[in-house]
């Protein structure tokens, strides 16, 4: 019982921290469209079990710190399957790059930070 309560508190705290502090926002099907609709957005599709996703995610966080004028989001693929089908994502990690709501580019698998940065620069 106590441990369940602790888990709920921890999850809520993570949610609040995400809203307040992290530059990489947790995105779901319900807010995906509005998130990518304006400006340049970078969306990291990942899953808990996906080892390469955990290699890539710190690089996305570094870029989020560097490019304050770009929106960064992460989508848990297991919890948002509809988005995987919609954007034809067959492997994780996949990074989608949007400009004003239009899918402009993508990157699949672990790639160097410089490759992702080039794609962002091209969109700015």
């Amino acid at each position: 019982m106590d441990s369940d309560l602790e888990k709920i508190k921890k999850a809520k705290l993570n949610e609040i921290m995400n809203e307040l502090g992290n530059r990489v926002k947790v995105i779901k099907e319900s807010n995906f469209g509005s998130f990518v609709s304006e400006g340049v957005s970078v969306i990291d599709f990942w899953a808990v079990w996906c080892a390469p996703c955990h290699i890539l995610s710190p690089l996305i966080e570094d870029l989020a710190d560097k490019y304050k004028n770009v929106k960064f989001g992460k989508v848990n693929g297991d919890e948002n399957m509809r988005l995987l089908y919609e954007y034809n994502i067959t492997g994780l990690p996949t990074i989608l790059f949007f400009k004003n709501g239009i899918l402009a580019d993508r990157s699949v698998g672990v790639v160097p930070e410089s490759v992702l940065e080039e794609k962002i620069k091209w969109l700015l």
Partner: protein, 194 residues
């Protein structure tokens, strides 16, 4: 001669450093072997997590298959640690890593379980990359002498106020469902069935 099997735990080893540090051996193992993610969001104390991994309750309650032909090295169920090589919590990392790998190199038991504890610190990337590189160099020397291995971390990066719940898992053997995370309580069973 029986096939040699190694279970090597590296506390605090994180996928997040794979692109940040120069660790060609570990990255090569990652690229060429079955891998996964250890998910552990509730036990980040090094002693407690190893008690769970090793089924330790004042004694190691190990599967019969492995307990009669096992070497343990630097297992942090207590401080100082338990095993052929034992260290205190303040041991210099160069000394700890070298001593653990020397002990691994010299074991002839069918099963070897070892732990490296130097990464279990909330340090910056510079110091951590030095430790990653050291581990990487020694790993190159010993990994081919084992027929089977699991290299894992029971949790990821140790930060000043937080611990990453995602640990590393690289093994010679595939798992039945690679789309599931590995729980710390399963690791000994997977190892004993190798």
């Amino acid at each position: 001669m029986a096939a040699l099997k190694l279970l090597l735990g590296i506390n605090g080893l994180s996928y997040g450093y794979f692109m940040r540090c120069n660790i060609p051996v570990i990255v090569n193992l990652f690229n060429t072997h079955p891998r996964g993610v250890v998910y552990n969001d509730d036990c980040h104390n090094m002693q407690n997590v190893w008690k769970r991994i090793m089924h330790y309750n004042n004694n190691f309650e190990l599967p019969g298959k492995i307990k009669d032909n096992l070497s343990i090295i630097n297992i942090p169920v207590n401080i100082p640690t338990v095993g052929i090589y034992s260290s205190s919590i303040n041991t210099d990392y160069t000394n700890e890593v070298r001593s653990v790998f020397d002990a691994i190199k010299n074991t002839d038991s069918e099963y070897t379980i070892a732990s490296i504890n130097s990464l279990n610190i909330p340090g910056g990337a510079d110091i951590k990359c030095n430790i990653y590189s050291l581990i990487d160099n020694y790993l190159y020397e010993i990994i081919n002498s084992f027929n089977d291995f699991i290299i894992f971390s029971p949790y990821g990066d140790v930060k000043p106020n937080d611990v990453e719940p995602y640990g590393v898992y690289i093994s010679t053997r595939p798992r039945p469902n690679p789309h599931k995370t590995i729980k710390i309580d399963e690791i000994l069973e997977i190892f004993s069935n190798m």
